[in-house]
């Protein structure tokens, strides 16, 4: 499994039960039967039913984050080059 983004080589990785420490940032991953964002309100409702004072940040789809973190840069570079070439040609 990739663990340093899409381009860098895979590094050694260990998975450990989260219950062994109270430290470190935390979050959730939820697999849904249908479009994930349609479940966001229901998921947030359950989070706040568990503790109303917990903030929910960076909520979105995993595919969306991969697009944002890994595809957006190269895609922007490609568009920029294409536009520059066309402008220069004209």
């Amino acid at each position: 499994m990739k663990n340093r983004g899409l381009q860098d080589p895979i590094e050694p990785e260990i998975w450990v039960p989260y219950t062994v420490t109270g430290s470190a940032f935390r979050g959730i991953l939820v697999r849904t039967a249908k479009e994930p964002l349609t479940m966001l309100n229901a998921v947030e409702h359950e989070i706040w039913a568990t503790d109303a004072n917990v903030a929910v940040t960076l909520a979105g789809t995993m595919e969306g984050y991969i697009r944002q973190f890994s595809y957006a840069g190269p895609r922007f570079g490609f568009l920029l080059m294409t536009i520059s070439a066309r402008l220069d040609w004209c």
Partner: protein
């Protein structure tokens, strides 16, 4: 002048083509997980009420049960990092192994739903059970790169590994459930 402009245009077009090829190659990278139909969220817990492992577990255990009971939810897990973008870095030690340089690995804090949520396939062994997670068992699962780099052709199942950063975490919260000398079974 025209020759210069044509040359520049061709250079830019070739560059755009190369970037497109890189982009297409990036889209075809095998992640080793299935990111479709996965919702992610970061939940920064109030540090005044969530300092210890028991307190953090006291939030996530009922939350995960609630989420799993929701219609339309297939599986849910706690995670310390958004895959496939890194983990918590740490020096490590494997009892019985001597080495001049420091050994290190990233690690993730997860619950039993992690591997099913991401549909990660196991080469050998199995994932965590709910009882192991709830019991805060000192168990570990390692990736193939870890095995190749630190164990070679040895079977990782039954081996032990010390994660230095984990001991530092426990010191930081004044509740050292684990000492740095404690070991983990892979």
């Amino acid at each position: 002048m025209v020759v210069l402009e044509v040359g520049l245009s061709l250079t830019l077009l070739v560059s755009a083509g190369l970037l497109m090829r890189s982009f297409v190659a990036l889209r075809e990278v095998h992640l080793g997980l299935q990111p479709d139909h996965v919702l992610v969220a970061r939940l920064p817990l109030p540090t005044d009420r969530y300092k210890t492992a028991d307190q953090v577990t006291g939030f996530y255990r009922p939350l995960l049960q609630r989420l799993k009971a929701l219609p339309g939810i297939v599986e849910a897990t706690e995670t310390s990092t958004l895959p496939p973008y890194g983990g918590i870095p740490s020096d490590i030690e494997i009892p019985g192994k001597t080495h001049a340089e420091k050994w290190n690995s990233m690690f993730q804090l997860v619950s039993e739903g992690y591997f099913p949520v991401l549909k990660i396939q196991f080469v050998d062994g199995r994932g965590f059970t709910e009882a192991e997670i709830n019991g805060a068992r000192r168990l570990a699962i390692v990736n193939q790169t870890f095995v190749k780099k630190y164990l070679g052709k040895e079977n990782p199942i039954g081996k032990q590994v010390r994660i230095a950063q984990l001991a530092e975490f426990e010191d930081a919260v004044k509740e050292p459930m684990l000492k740095s000398s404690d070991s983990w079974r892979t």
